[in-house]
Symmetry: none
Subunit: 140 residues, 4 copies
Amino acid sequence: MPDIRVDASSAVPIFRQIVDGLRSLIAAGVYRPGELIPSVRQQAVTLLVNPNTVARAYEALEREGLVESRKGVGMVVATGSQPAAVRGAEEAVTAALAEAIAQARTAGMTPERIDALYRRAITGSGGSNESKSGRGANHD
Amino acid sequence: MPDIRVDASSAVPIFRQIVDGLRSLIAAGVYRPGELIPSVRQQAVTLLVNPNTVARAYEALEREGLVESRKGVGMVVATGSQPAAVRGAEEAVTAALAEAIAQARTAGMTPERIDALYRRAITGSGGSNESKSGRGANHD
Amino acid sequence: MPDIRVDASSAVPIFRQIVDGLRSLIAAGVYRPGELIPSVRQQAVTLLVNPNTVARAYEALEREGLVESRKGVGMVVATGSQPAAVRGAEEAVTAALAEAIAQARTAGMTPERIDALYRRAITGSGGSNESKSGRGANHD
Amino acid sequence: MPDIRVDASSAVPIFRQIVDGLRSLIAAGVYRPGELIPSVRQQAVTLLVNPNTVARAYEALEREGLVESRKGVGMVVATGSQPAAVRGAEEAVTAALAEAIAQARTAGMTPERIDALYRRAITGSGGSNESKSGRGANHD
DNA sequence: GTGGTCTAGACCACA
DNA sequence: GTGGTCTAGACCACG
């Protein structure tokens, strides 16, 4: 399923959804080094978004070093991009988690309470890791 | 910490920082029902922001039902606001955590990996509960 | 029951609540011409409001001609004030109704629909005149 | 009447007039789900008000769930907004009517008298349904 | 003194 | 182009 889905009514900007989506696909090995990613115009048609938005996303991916533009050819996945994509995704997730945790701390929550909320959030969203996480967590 | 701090260079809007800060203070019981919160003008001086920005935050707090505006008097903390403030803060944190987790999942991370990132994020930001992860705590 | 009740958390200004309350008491004959109404200070204590607010209300009542200030004595109900109070109350109510109706019209509601809403509003608030109003309207 | 009119000298705030006006247009089906409503700047020019005032109205409409903001695009009418708009408008009118009726009751008016005032208010403002109301009682 | 509203003008991210 | 946010300064009703 080498396709991305974009939610226009989401609070997260469309160009960022595209960046995150492609980074995930590269991290997961769906797009392999050297492979061409869809052209800006094609991607725009596929996702039903403005080409400028796709171009902006591709530009960000290029700055991240995950793709390279080959003149006359298009954007190709960079060599060694897969671990970089994994790292980038983890950094993004860690930053998001840290922000949520900071917000919780300023609200005066104890680490235990934050743990409880995290547990609830991760189990409530399709997760099923309570048996192998080695943590006797009781999610409520 | 009987005061709010505002970071103008943050990505989160100032008025939202004020909302979150006051919600936390109400949740923590610093401001009790019936009590007056600082006036718009006074708060503006304290936080070094424009009065309109404070007014916007107060308006949002009123919509949340945490405070009530008394014309000519000021904004008083609503009765029963404390549990509502706690609930509101937890909902906001849970939503932020859920969003981060969703992002991680789309990047193909395993729950164990997400757990590791969460652990790193919470210990690196002032937390200190990694030793007691046996979790005898009752999180509710 | 010659007392007024004031709701500080209401949207209608306190001074107006006092005006409306006293006007109603005069219209109902509870306060009769020549009779003294409570002093500003006493009324302020009774209603738990700012004396300035009571003074403002009394001023409005005096402008309406419902009460007169007798120097050294206090505010007395004016002669012939009862029908004037009735008239004033009806004018206020008519104005409020007209405003609601105008709002409904700009929303594109038909007179029949407005009638239905009015019927529902008046029966739902302690009224019991659906039998004598002779209207077969179905209030939904 | 595919347009809104704003009365700056009215007691009702301009931004609320805009909210009510657009809600009516959505309720009437003039603006359909998915459609763009006039941009903040354009609406400001049309109504001769400050863009901030329009933005404030649009923000309120978004909180009501009647429109959604698409960054860089504009405000689009939300799906299922039409019945919601009708409901919202009727709730507002009913509340206004109920408030007027409550005021009348505290003034000691009988339901019949209130009916008479309502009749007068609705016929005096462009209505013409007094002939089909089947009501023998025309109290004025 | 209080909050509520409006104007004017600016900068930003996004599409 | 769009909406989102912030500043500055003003006027108003209310208590």
